[in-house]
Symmetry: C2
Amino acid sequence: MGLEGTSTNRPVRAVVLGQRSETVRRSNLSAVLRALHERGPQSRSELVTGTGLTRSAIRSLVGELALVGLVTEARAEARGRPGRPSPVVRPVPDGAVALALEIAVDSLAVALVGLGGDVLFLERVDRSRDRASVEATIEALVDLAGSAREVPGRADPLVGVGVAVVGVVRRADGSVAMAPNLGWKDVPLGALLATALAPTAPIAVANEADLGALAELRRGAAIGRDDILFVSGEVGVGGGLITGGRPLTGAAGYGGEIGHIPVRPDGRPCRCGSNGCWETEVGEEALLLRAGLPSDGGRAGVETVMHAAADGDTRALEALADVGRWLGIGLAGLVNVLDPRLVVLGGRLARIHPFVIGPVESELRRRALPAARALVSVVPARLGADAPLIGAAELAFEPLLADPVAVVAERGSALIEASA
Amino acid sequence: MGLEGTSTNRPVRAVVLGQRSETVRRSNLSAVLRALHERGPQSRSELVTGTGLTRSAIRSLVGELALVGLVTEARAEARGRPGRPSPVVRPVPDGAVALALEIAVDSLAVALVGLGGDVLFLERVDRSRDRASVEATIEALVDLAGSAREVPGRADPLVGVGVAVVGVVRRADGSVAMAPNLGWKDVPLGALLATALAPTAPIAVANEADLGALAELRRGAAIGRDDILFVSGEVGVGGGLITGGRPLTGAAGYGGEIGHIPVRPDGRPCRCGSNGCWETEVGEEALLLRAGLPSDGGRAGVETVMHAAADGDTRALEALADVGRWLGIGLAGLVNVLDPRLVVLGGRLARIHPFVIGPVESELRRRALPAARALVSVVPARLGADAPLIGAAELAFEPLLADPVAVVAERGSALIEASA
């Protein structure tokens, strides 16, 4: 239940060889629906170009998807070009919806996202950090999911549930191997949520930074990029890596734990049990301590630092610059290893971006190899703190996008019965 | 000219859909030839299972490859099973050969490798480190290549030239952006070698650690693995990364420069211009200095340390243990980021493996997250110092393996002319 197989910005090519077998139909419906979901409304001509399918195949596939309410077609306005304008095909937001949940350190969130990416509903509730027990979390998520599904008029067909969690997730079953900032270890989150929510659609669980990367790639700052590093900074630091257009998950889905690269091996103790991990230098506590505040000041403490920095307070500015230097040191190593085009700073790191980008770039100039450094930009996440939640929705759409045939067949039968 | 598109241990599935178009024939010939090259002789039945093609398709494809001398078929010995034994298909080593070249810091090497991976010829010549100018290197490589091709009876058809270089290589054109340990910067190596060698087959250039990883994956310690980290340690430290069965090259091919992760940001100056890069703690100079020898002692100095350690010399053993601790510190970060199944230590690091594995594992226990750490083993390269050279040969076979049609067509025409 990880990101394996999730698609990216690579062109969505359809299968063009061969007989019109069920396998080919599945691939082709998938290619058309994915193109519309990921890139928005397109003319039939654009779909022909994007998928490599013939005009007549596109007409027939779009017809099937329209019949079951996943897409609509409307006559395009003439654009002053000769010839009949190609009809515009649009994904129908309430034709298929994804339920997204997020477990952050001091908040929980829920969203309903429609096919094509429209956010139909979003709610985030703060919670105190000492109430992060597994049971309390599951209970609160069930409440949130219930309120999202009870919005008047929102009885849309659910196609998947995606869950972002600030922890190390085993891809195979959605269990959380460890989440030091929640105090969790070996929690079978996927199974627990499946029991508690009893949803009518599959549940998938993934690490929040992996999902933040997916969201920024599909809907945010990294559209069109194949090699990105998403750095999620809330309390600790997590990473979501896309390389060569694919999520880097590692052997079991545990990859991307960039917060635990040793950058100062004899440094401060880390919650993971080691010393001098990157997050001990750039995490929330490091910022607060450097600014002379209690290390357990949490988000309120960070707000205090941000306001002081905006007012020109020297100590706050120096604390941010120091975090920036260490941020740059860690990023330099990652740029040398991964050669990304784009580093996207998410969460708290997106907010402090203007204050840290100077020292970050200075360390990159000093420590990243020139060839790789010349290619990379460091930008804030466009989706802000909601990136992992939006990514969870994208993950939830995967079963439908990978194989629309089941849904099309089911809805088609219902239509036939209704008309009989 | 990098590793993009090189295949790995993933099952080689053939295209089974569709008409017998030229595209399908190309894919299917490629699948069969690749299976034989990468996994060795197989019965027709095994090829059926491995490629997903039908018996009759395999018969016909093997026939085509046999006709042009790329494979042979021989009746299998009966294995005590009922039924007619399936004929065994073998790649023909001198049916297609690859020329491999390697530019290391203090040696140059050449090999001729036959289809299926047999090493037909291999020569390595030491050279002094101060004679690594681009011109001298090219000249020496031309000599080496000439001697390899002049071996009596070795007029085998050349299908590609692969070059391993200890530097940062731009994938697009095989130019070396930088090679600090050679003193090279912006060297158009691919173009220079194409001119100097004027080979009858395409040249591809790649980083030596990337090629070491490919070699260990196909022919060495990592057969059957999808997520590996190859750590090449000669003078400096380089990395070859395979994730999810594919080489991680990064946006431009500059990825894998793990020697330049900052592990001690205020540490010793590095040749790259930064301080405290991983290779300043685990490279050759670090070992020599810790053992009380001159930092420019080179390979002879390393031999001195190895002999002293074998004799139980305390200082040598402590120097090696210290390198092991820093090796473990850097590996812990990489395990957290990449979640590999296997870390393969190459070059000098393969030799010191027995002396450093204790401290390495101790640091991994302390600093790698338990979930990822539990999955990973740290082993020496099976191909030793020749891994990058063998990887260069694998790279050189890629054009043939990806599209055998051109070679098959050319040789087929020659046969028809000869028989006319």
